[in-house]
Each structure stands twice: as structure tokens, then as C-alpha cells.
């Protein structure tokens, strides 16, 4: 009995030690078999940058449309398209024949009136001679009326003359470049129609593009930006953000700068779109060139940056699996845990996490098996 007890105990001891030895040798292998393997990375503390792109045709900041106010025929066009003109330079001479005719008519009318006046003066003299009080008064009144009439006629002539003088020529109101030249010699332009446009080069150029609100928020008024101009020859110019305003549906040139947002989605959605006006200065600009900006901006929301691929979603929201190290005196074990995150903005592959993860946390990037909350894992 006793002997047997001792034997059993001895065998059990040997078996125990062998089992423990075996387990020790294979524990690494067993772990490999039993636990999902994961790769981890830490959230980046970098500032996530965002690319804003937009383009639009360059337009002058200030241009003056000269309008035909007479409807006269054009006698002479002194300038060509795109010609540089100085303030006061005569641009176009109109054919003033019609007006001159009117003046001549009026002058003749006046002459007729002078002749008529002599008659009235004679009647007055006659009336005085007769001494008839009534006759005298009437003749005197006639004389005064006539004087007034000829004053009016003379003023009219004067007006016509000035008018002719003014309308005869079209002069440049400011230094600039002639564009949109409609005038052709020999043709007439209807009253109120534009004849040509003077672009005031001294005032610079601008271009406009729309961008979604998020990117627009990253820009500031008065901010300097680099503008690429594709004209006859490509050139770079400095621009200034002059205006950021709510886009009125569909207006504004250029394209939205955010590749992240489906522009169709937000088109016409005034809340999402902003029109940005950029002033461009540059002597070589003429207007009409295609200008584009490409800005790299840090996000205003500063947080940790993670790859979008790490994010998973469930009913509660977006989360990442983070590795929790369970420090125990038995050895550290690792489990994964869902960490729900508040994400901010992101670009193509990265996104800002506002809260939910800490800088030192290991975030699961890849795993050999689908993970669930609380799974024990093996770190790669």
C-alpha cells in the first residue's frame, strides 16, 4: 500500500516534470497556433496637411466698358484689340454728319429769326410813331418774345455743337488695354451697346474659384498664395486671397479644390461651397489666362493622425482596435480593445482623430484573423 503510494507519486512527479518541460519548449509554438497575430502602429502626431486646388480664368480686377451713347456710325477706329492706351487717348471717331446737319438747320433757323426780328422792330417803330399805346405794347412784347426765342435757339446750337464735339470721339478714361473691340469702321453701333472695353492694367487681375467650405476655412483673407498662370507662356505669380464668400449656386469659375468631397454632391449646396477670389498682380498678365492655385494647408483641427484603413465601423461609430497590455507578474499579455474615436477631417488616406486614442497606443493595422473585442493577440 505504502510502497504503491510512493510509486504512483514518483511516476506522477516524473510525468509532471515532463509535461512542464514539454509545455515550456512548445509554449512559443502553442502561442503561435492559438493567438491571432497582429501588426500595430502608433498614431502619428504630425500635422495632417490638406491640399486645396482650384483654377479659373484670370480676369482683370477693373475694366471699363465703353458704350456707344449716340448710335452713330463709326468714322474711324484708332486702336486695335489689345492695344495699350493712355488716359485721354482718342479711341474712336464717330461720324458726326447727322449732328452737324442739325446744327446747320438750327443756325439757319436762327438766321431766319434774325430776319423776322427786323420785321418786328419795324412794327415797333411804326407803333411808336402812331402813338397808339396798345400797338406799342404789343410790338414791344413781340420784340421781347423774339429775343427770348433767339436766345433759346442759340443755346440749342451751342448744345448741339458741344454734343457733337463730345460724341464725335471716344477717349480712353484710364490707362489700360483695349479688349472686346466691337467697333468696325463704317458700321454704326446701337445706342447703349458696348463699343469696346478698357482693361485697367494698373489695378491688377483676379481669378475666382470655388472650394468647399472646409478648405475655404483653411484660407485667410489677405493671405499670399502662389498662382500658376498658363497663358502664352506659363508663369508664376503672387496672389492674394481677397475675398471668400458664399458661392451663389453654380456661379464662379473654376473647380472645387477638395478631392475628398464629391463635388456633385455639394454642388448648389451653398453651405458647402465658397467662392474664393484671388487677386493676382503681374505686368505680364493680360486676362483670360487660366490660373490655378495648389495649396498645402495644415488642418486647423490638431490631433493624432491615423490611416483611414485602420478605422472600422459598427453600430456605435468608428473605432480602431488598440492593443492593451495586461501587465501581470505572470508575463504581459496583449488583448485588443475597441477604442471608439472621434474623427476629424482627413484626406485621401489619413484622418485626424480628435479623441479616443492616445499617442503611445498601439493600433492594430493588420491581423491574421478577424478580431473581436477582448481577443488575446500576439504582437508581431
Amino acid at each position: 500500500m505504502i510502497q504503491r503510494k510512493q510509486q504512483i507519486a514518483g511516476i506522477a512527479l516524473v510525468v509532471l516534470l515532463l509535461v512542464l518541460a514539454g509545455l515550456t519548449l512548445f509554449s512559443q509554438t502553442l502561442q503561435t497556433v492559438l493567438l491571432p497575430k497582429v501588426t500595430t502602429a502608433k498614431a502619428d502626431k504630425k500635422t495632417l496637411t490638406f491640399r486645396i486646388e482650384g483654377s479659373g480664368p484670370i480676369t482683370p480686377r477693373k475694366q471699363i466698358e465703353l458704350i456707344s451713347d449716340s448710335g452713330w456710325k463709326l468714322e474711324k477706329v484708332h486702336v486695335r484689340h489689345a492695344e495699350q492706351v493712355k488716359k485721354g487717348q482718342i479711341l474712336i471717331t464717330f461720324d458726326g454728319t447727322e449732328a452737324q446737319q442739325q446744327i446747320l438747320d438750327a443756325e439757319d433757323e436762327l438766321k431766319k429769326r434774325k430776319l423776322n426780328r427786323e420785321l418786328i422792330a419795324e412794327q415797333f417803330v411804326t407803333a411808336q410813331r402812331t402813338g397808339d399805346e396798345g400797338e406799342i405794347r404789343k410790338a414791344k412784347r413781340d420784340l421781347e418774345l423774339d429775343g427770348l426765342d433767339s436766345d433759346i435757339a442759340m443755346r440749342r446750337i451751342e448744345t448741339l455743337r458741344r454734343d457733337l464735339e463730345r460724341k464725335r470721339t471716344l477717349t480712353a478714361p484710364a490707362d489700360g488695354i483695349v479688349t472686346n473691340l466691337q467697333a468696325e469702321e463704317g458700321r454704326s453701333i446701337l445706342q447703349g451697346q458696348p463699343v469696346l472695353t478698357i482693361v485697367e492694367t494698373g489695378e491688377g487681375f483676379q481669378f475666382t474659384f470655388t472650394a468647399d467650405k472646409d478648405s475655404a476655412d483653411l484660407m485667410q483673407l489677405g493671405e499670399k498664395v502662389l498662382v500658376n498662370v498658363q497663358g502664352d507662356k506659363p508663369l508664376k505669380s503672387e496672389g492674394t486671397v481677397a475675398e471668400i464668400k458664399d458661392a451663389t449656386g453654380g456661379s464662379g469659375g473654376g473647380s472645387a479644390g477638395n478631392p475628398d468631397v464629391d463635388s456633385g454632391n455639394l454642388d448648389g449646396n451653398a453651405k458647402g461651397q465658397k467662392t474664393i477670389v484671388v487677386h493676382v498682380s503681374g505686368d505680364d498678365l493680360k486676362g483670360g489666362e487660366l490660373a490655378s492655385v495648389s495649396l498645402v494647408r495644415p488642418f486647423q483641427e490638431q490631433g493624432l493622425v491615423i490611416s483611414k484603413k485602420w478605422l472600422r465601423k459598427d453600430g456605435t461609430g468608428s473605432y480602431v482596435f488598440v492593443v492593451r497590455e495586461n501587465r501581470s507578474s505572470l508575463g504581459n499579455t496583449y488583448t485588443v480593445q475597441k477604442a471608439y474615436v472621434n474623427t476629424g477631417k482627413g484626406n485621401d488616406d489619413e484622418i485626424v482623430v480628435l479623441d479616443g486614442v492616445y499617442p503611445e497606443e498601439n493600433i492594430v493595422t493588420e491581423s491574421s484573423e478577424p478580431l473581436q473585442e477582448g481577443n488575446r493577440i500576439r504582437l508581431n
Binding site: 505504502i2 503510494k5 510512493q6 510509486q7 504512483i8 507519486a9 514518483g10 506522477a12 512527479l13 509532471l16 516534470l17 512542464l20 509545455l23 515550456t24 509554449s27 512559443q28 502553442l30 502561442q31 492559438l34 501587465r327 501581470s328 507578474s329 505572470l330 508575463g331 499579455t333 488575446r376
Partner: protein
């Protein structure tokens, strides 16, 4: 007739009652090692917490038998096994070393006469009687000088040269009748020859006893590693078990069982030698 039968039974029952009280902690540990971690936490999770009015729920029978703890300890967390082998790797060299050194010295003390024998043996005896708090100081000083601190050698070497083995085996050697040795001497056998072919077979039970007693002693050691080994990874299971309660309460019963099992089994398989050793030495355990 009945009287002669009743008294032993009553005595036996009383002794069994006391024995079961003594075994209670061991049984409780073993039984609880088959509970799930969840059960353990539910029953004992409030240990050491002052912010709860819950009491532990002493469980004698698990709701269901589970090997979860063992799986956790033996398979999922290799560190436990490493510590286990830490213990083994300190205890085994000590036992082998001390047995070898002690056999030689014990034979000299027990069976050879030389001047200063009694005085020298008295030194061994007194040192053996010293509580480890006293011997720890010289051990520490020497380990420090030899640059052994934080190295298992700082525990193994003093263990190998501890005087207990010499003392215990001398007790066994004394029981060898001198006539055997005299006879061998007549045949012209050298001392070493006598030791190996006569004394050694006769003190086998003594060696067995020494092995068991040393195993019990060093498997249990807490103080030496606590002081000599700063590095937690080098410490044996015994030290580690002392701060197990908080963080791995759920598996600590299984850990305890695995830790006590080799000793219990060794004891059961060599109980005779163990008891003989204690009776003969009357010292240490």
C-alpha cells in the same frame, strides 16, 4: 472487545478531524484551481479591497470543473513556466552540489579521525543552527565581493556549501559499523574506495533524505532570492507567488498547485526518507 475497538475509532476520528483542518488550505487551493477565472473573481475578487462590504465566498465545490486556469498558466503565459524552471535551475544544482560535497565531508567527519575534528564539526553545527537571517549576511557579503549579486550563483553557491548536508549525512555515516571499514582497510582499500563501495551504498537512504529535505528547503526559499536577485525575471516561483494575488488572482490557484505539486509528489514518493531524515537530523525541514 467492543471497548478495544471503540477507543481507537474515536481517536482516529479526532485525528482525522485535525488532519482535515491541517489539509484544508491545500484542498481549498486544489479545488479552486479547477474553477473558471470568472468564478474566482466573483468569489474572491473582493480580497484586499476596503471599498466593498462583500465577503469572500469560500467555495468548496466549483460550479463546474474547468481547466481554464491551467490553460492560462501553462499554455498562454510562458513566463510562469520560465519562473518554474528558474526555481528548478537553482534547486537542482544546490541539491546535487551539496550532496556531492557533503558525502565527502560527512565521511571524513563520521568515519575518519583527525585532529580538530570535533571543533570543526562544532563550527558546522553552530552555523547550521543559525537562522538564515544570520547566515544571509555573510552570504551576501561574499556574493557581493565575488560579483555574484543578481546572479543565480549568489544563491546556488552558498546553498552548495551549506553545512546541513554534511551534518545529516554524518548522522547516517555514524550508523555504519566501523568493522566494515576496518575490514576493507585490511584488504588494502584506499579511503576513496571505502567511501564509494562501502559507505555510499549504506547511506543511500541518507542521500535520499538529504535530497528531499533540501528540495523542501530550497524550493520554498523566499528570502535569499528576494535579497540577492533584483531582477524579477531571474527570481524563482516562490518569490513571484508572493505578489501574485492582485493582478492574476484568477489563475493564482492553478499557479499555486503547479508550484506545490513537484514538492508534494516528491514528498509522497520519498516520505520514508523524508521522515527518516528528520528523525536522524532532528534539524531543519
Amino acid at each position: 472487545m467492543i471497548k478495544g475497538w471503540v477507543a481507537p475509532l474515536l481517536r482516529s476520528l479526532l485525528l482525522i478531524l485535525i488532519a482535515s483542518l491541517l489539509l484544508m488550505p491545500v484542498v481549498l487551493t486544489v479545488v479552486n484551481s479547477f474553477m473558471t477565472e470568472r468564478d474566482i473573481m466573483a468569489n474572491y475578487g473582493m480580497l484586499g479591497k476596503t471599498d466593498t462590504s462583500l465577503f469572500v465566498n469560500l467555495k468548496w465545490i466549483p460550479d463546474w470543473v474547468s481547466f481554464q486556469q491551467y490553460g492560462e498558466v501553462l499554455i498562454s503565459t510562458p513566463k510562469f513556466l520560465y519562473l518554474f524552471w528558474n526555481s528548478v535551475s537553482m534547486v537542482v544544482p544546490i541539491i546535487i552540489g551539496q550532496a556531492l560535497v557533503a558525502i565527502l565531508a560527512a565521511f571524513a567527519f563520521g568515519k575518519l579521525s583527525f585532529p580538530g575534528r570535533e571543533g570543526l564539526f562544532f563550527l558546522y553545527l553552530m552555523t547550521m543552527l543559525m537562522p538564515f537571517q544570520v547566515t544571509l549576511v555573510p552570504n551576501y557579503l561574499m556574493a557581493d565581493r565575488l560579483g555574484l549579486l543578481n546572479h543565480p550563483g549568489s544563491i546556488i553557491l552558498p546553498g552548495v556549501f551549506a553545512p546541513f548536508g554534511v551534518f545529516l549525512l554524518r548522522q547516517f555515516m555514524l550508523h555504519i559499523h566501523s568493522s566494515y571499514i576496518e575490514a576493507a582497510k585490511m584488504d588494502g582499500a584506499g579511503t576513496l574506495r571505502i567511501l564509494v563501495s562501502i559507505a555510499l551504498p549504506m547511506v543511500k537512504p541518507g542521500i535520499a533524505a538529504l535530497v528531499v529535505l533540501l528540495f523542501v528547503d530550497y524550493w520554498n526559499m523566499v528570502e535569499q532570492p528576494l535579497i540577492f536577485l533584483q531582477d524579477a525575471a531571474k527570481q524563482p516561483l516562490s518569490v513571484f507567488l508572493s505578489h501574485i494575488q492582485d493582478d492574476v488572482l484568477g489563475v493564482s490557484f492553478a499557479v499555486s498547485v503547479v508550484y506545490m505539486m513537484p514538492m508534494v509528489l516528491l514528498f509522497l514518493s520519498a516520505e520514508r526518507y523524508f521522515i527518516e531524515g528528520i528523525q536522524l537530523s532532528g534539524v531543519k525541514g
